[in-house]
Symmetry: none
Subunit: 208 residues, 4 copies
DNA sequence: GATGAATGAGCCTTCATTCAT
DNA sequence: GATGAATGAAGGCTCATTCAT
């Protein structure tokens, strides 16, 4: 009675998410989305101007939700590096709990003409941004040495991404089994890198 | 014994590589490959049974070359971890020198129905295998502690992958600029993880 | 008795005229007419049963106005041939002053399935009728010899039509520049034809 | 054995001409053309890039033939005005013998977005050109006085056009019945106009 | 081995029309 | 009277694949 507007639009998005996740962009038919919505094809086109727009809308919605969740989860940690760590864990866990979502986000964005690649870059950029902001804070607070946090964020993201894809297509290793090593490598590696940097900066003359 | 047979096949593969790299699997037309070969469409189908087969052949050829190169480059290092490091550097450098190749390998395999996803998994599995073998050796030799080298290899691969993709679509950071941090994080992170593991294993009772 | 009813209907007609004139029947969308009316699509369908009916209504309205104007203008001429001439001038001038109107009337009626062709025939028939009636009078009064006034009327109409279309699409020659020649050819030609006819009729035996 | 290349293309053109003539551009389906060719839809698209291109090709072909015929027929007349007259008769007769052709040429070009209108203008421009060239010659030779032959040509064309359309849609009057009047009006009218012009030019002061 | 005309299944998109509110 | 979301029947165009020559 209060507000449920745009219900239809959301229903479409929901159905489209499922269809796209299952079949990928190209294999998915607008007809299938329509069927899954018990709407006619024309009905879909009333709400979205094209299949591509629909796909992007699905992706954005997913990314929004994931980022919100990640930020919620990493909010109340004392140390910045812990926040970053929490973000890492949150992304990893969230995606490992929803194969579909993971598949869409990790995989579907690729390889469909440049518009899609750009979109994939956007999406990953947003995720990286979240991690980066925590890492920046960690650097500022001296929790880790000065490193290129943008690169670091993408290293993290790439590692997460690959592990999840691997899991999606081979079923192993279980995310929960891989997570500890992932965390150690990325965090300790980063600390170490920070120290190395710091040493370098201090020791012009002695160092390497 | 000498005669370069299969020349035509190779010419097709070459042309196909360029076309697929530029436009991705779906956007690339068999006609375009034909044009780039000064062969007719029919001619292509004499050598490859389908567009998909052609695409896979291109991918395999690329992967073969890359792996050969990587193994060559990491062969004569004394320490196993150094070999792994060399492999990392080799992959990263090779791909960063040939955008097209990188694009194809990193990106094109995704999202085109399950056959493609399987292929992508294969390819990355092969790359990971190379790294893993070195890491296994490093563990055996005690250069690093006992870790799940398969997971580690994928962490490495994922990080490399993401950094390269990032570079491909945004042009920054330059691979050469990102490489040092990448190496430090991955290698030091791995060392650290190995130690933690070792500690754990030794010290049941005391540890954590 | 006073109250302007059917305002909405007229607003639609007005808007539709503009839209149809600009884009032609097929290119024009009912949505566009709706937008131009600040009415919804459904609103239009309350007043007109179909796009086709709407189009025809627009055409009829235009024809009514034009014919009324032409008749007004040719009313108070003494000679019948002058009336015809005045009609010619009136049509030509009226249309050359409103490109849109001309475009719709001259062009839009064509080629859209037989219903449309029939309509076009109707419309031109009405115009021809006006001219014909004047010519008939001229024949009766002996201003010109006995000719097939229906054919003559269509000759006139066709010439007018073509000149205007030409002007619409090429911008030249300006109607005012073409009008004198048009009048001379059509009127003198008709006079001459009438005389020839007359001669023929009289002279059975000598003539041809 | 010698030359019949492009047979298929011609077969398509032939079939398309029939289909377009019968149903008009919009009502005609590419499928129908395909059926009429016993070719698949794809086959059509191998030879023509779009429905529109196909339509234009049909129109051009028709115009080419008609113009060739007209020029042939008006070639060996002594007087230039006779040539023009012969052209008039030839166009009129040719079209009145083939309803389809007439319908396509006279009518189909209209009203389908500006591309079509431009085409119609082209086509009629070409026809007018033929007539105009004869009229120009007639003026040069002094057969008629100096008039705007371009306008005159369009007057002729418009009259022909309208008479034929009228006949196409109402079945009357038969072209052969209308032709004499048409010729007299147009030719005598033009002579008269030429004289009027000439008089004007000579007689500044006395005239009018 | 190679050609290229032809196939044909398929898909996205359009848009006049309807109807519950 | 009016709205606008929804329908559904088309239709143009694509393109991997085939095959007679």
């Amino acid at each position: 009675m209060t507000a449920p507007k745009e219900i239809t639009r959301d229903r479409i998005l929901e159905a489209a998410e499922a269809v796209f996740a299952e079949k990928g962009y190209h294999e998915a038919l607008v007809d299938e989305v329509a069927d899954a919505t018990s709407l006619s094809k024309g009905g879909i086109y009333f709400h979205f101007p094209s299949k591509e727009h629909l796909f992007f809308a699905v992706l954005d919605r997913l990314a929004d939700r994931l980022i919100a969740k990640v930020e919620r989860e990493s909010a109340n940690r004392p140390a910045a590096l812990e926040k970053a760590d929490a973000a890492l864990v949150a992304v990893f866990s969230a995606l490992s709990k929803r194969r579909r979502l993971a598949k869409l986000l990790m995989v579907s964005g690729y390889s469909m003409g440049n518009a899609f690649e750009r979109k994939r870059a956007d999406l990953f950029g947003r995720f990286a941004g979240v991690i980066k902001s925590h890492l920046d804070e960690a650097v500022e607070r001296g929790e880790i040495g000065p490193v290129d946090t943008a690169v670091a964020a993408h290293i993290w993201l790439g590692a997460i991404n690959e592990l999840l894809i691997r899991w999606l297509y081979t079923g192993a290793p279980a995310p929960s089994a891989a997570l500890p090593l992932l965390r150690t490598v990325l965090i300790d590696g980063l600390k170490s890198a920070g120290m190395a940097r710091t040493r370098e900066e201090r020791g012009n003359g002695r160092g390497r």
